[in-house]
Symmetry: C2
Subunit: 311 residues, 2 copies
Amino acid sequence: MAEMVIVGSMALDSVKTPFGEVERVVGGAAVYAAAAASLLAPPRVVGVVGGDFPEEALEFLAARGADLEGVESVPDGKSFYWRGVYDYALSDRETLATELNVFADFNPTLPGSWRDSRYCFLANIQPQVQLAVLDQLHDTCFVMCDTMNLWIEHERDALAEVLARVDLALLNDAEARQLADTPNLAEAADRVLDMGPRLLVIKKGEYGATLVSRDDYFSIPSYPLPNVVDPTGAGDSFAGGMIGLLARRDDCCSTELRRAVAFGTVIASACCEGFSLDGLKRLDQAELARRYDVLRDIVRFDAMEWEEFGA
Amino acid sequence: MAEMVIVGSMALDSVKTPFGEVERVVGGAAVYAAAAASLLAPPRVVGVVGGDFPEEALEFLAARGADLEGVESVPDGKSFYWRGVYDYALSDRETLATELNVFADFNPTLPGSWRDSRYCFLANIQPQVQLAVLDQLHDTCFVMCDTMNLWIEHERDALAEVLARVDLALLNDAEARQLADTPNLAEAADRVLDMGPRLLVIKKGEYGATLVSRDDYFSIPSYPLPNVVDPTGAGDSFAGGMIGLLARRDDCCSTELRRAVAFGTVIASACCEGFSLDGLKRLDQAELARRYDVLRDIVRFDAMEWEEFGA
């Protein structure tokens, strides 16, 4: 097991899906990723919260082994706030409000003893902030970063600098096409790898995820869910599951990377089964193991005996 | 090896994609499916063509072992014609023209000796026509059908009758949601199975395909393609690959069904590499075998030792 640090937003979300609606519940990329990773290894969390952020959420993360020394609290400030609504098939969402609040001045400072963390997940934040974190880490073995269309459009240079310094970039398929400026996803993957990271994960929501490098290609479907409630945080839970497994195994060979994508897939599925952290809270290690084994069976098909076949 | 019959359109298509444009090239669901199936077992083809349908296309199918006794020719009629244009990411297409021509009066009559065909693919046609074919088959072992949004909206009763009589329904994800009237794909699958077929394949285009039954769930990504040219006919090539493999093995147990989905996936990938039948013509058995084995590797991830893991 190696040390892992997760940096990103800690938020309050108001979310409406075809299956329900919640107001100002706990969310944020770092919160989802840390809750997910904590199923596998204890994360170090870097973020900022206002006085309105529920104490119970921090207690929950701490009880799961998370170290919250890197969480800055601004008692007279308000937490990052996001309000969004999902479409009928949960494949698209519209942002109705974003209030940065204390997150506007987020200037992450890693506790001194955290600077040799071996594994790091930089959740979606302004790339300049991601670079500031990278500058503080001096002995990483594996860094993954997320991003979003806003930075691809408006902060392309800084984002390119981030991509040149991380091991793995996490993008959804639209972002990959946008970043690489090509409709062909295989070609887009190639161009993203040209920008620096040796690995790329393309997140496809309910369609699964694909891991690409110069010499490896791995792709699995999502875990089938009869009861999807809210996909908010699924991508961050996926990332948390990945970095958690890699830190736990302290190995990022192809075998562990593929397993990490499978863990991310399974943990993301649990995230979608409730609002806020409800789904991740319900997922225990036995259910995690069960779903991992089910996912292996879902993609299994037998070899052919090509001699008989005549090929 | 068992006898297999394929029923559907034989067409001339004008297609525009971001990668090129062709005018009045050979297409049609039965043509793509037969060309695909012929890589695995000789198909019996039922369809209708006008005097403008290229003789070379029929000769190509015959040379690949297809029996064309069921293809009606109307020398003074025009073939079914479709004109369409694809969007940037090839995920959506717009139909600019559809001329039924000789297909308007398509009233398939199976040659007497074909009525005991064991395997059958009913490509997308009006469900009443699919029912007329089913009435002529009296000893089938496995029947699969395709359909489209038009029939889901306007011929729901006849379509329901078809679904109650086939073994496998082939739908894309939008059609499954529309037919079942629910945004949740897992729930949609359940409701489609309630309508009769014991198996459902949900085609997801570049995202792969999922096979669902009451006691089996199988899902694989598509085969990655650096050079997609035109996805027209990919779904029909997929279906042709499936029925071809099942007929070749003369077995529709879970093992062969999963393999059939993998063959369909690989053959559909080749279809997308050219306009018309160009991609399918280039695919030989060695390349088919290679892609099948690559696809097995693409989805492979290792088991965990849960005891060590603590689960």
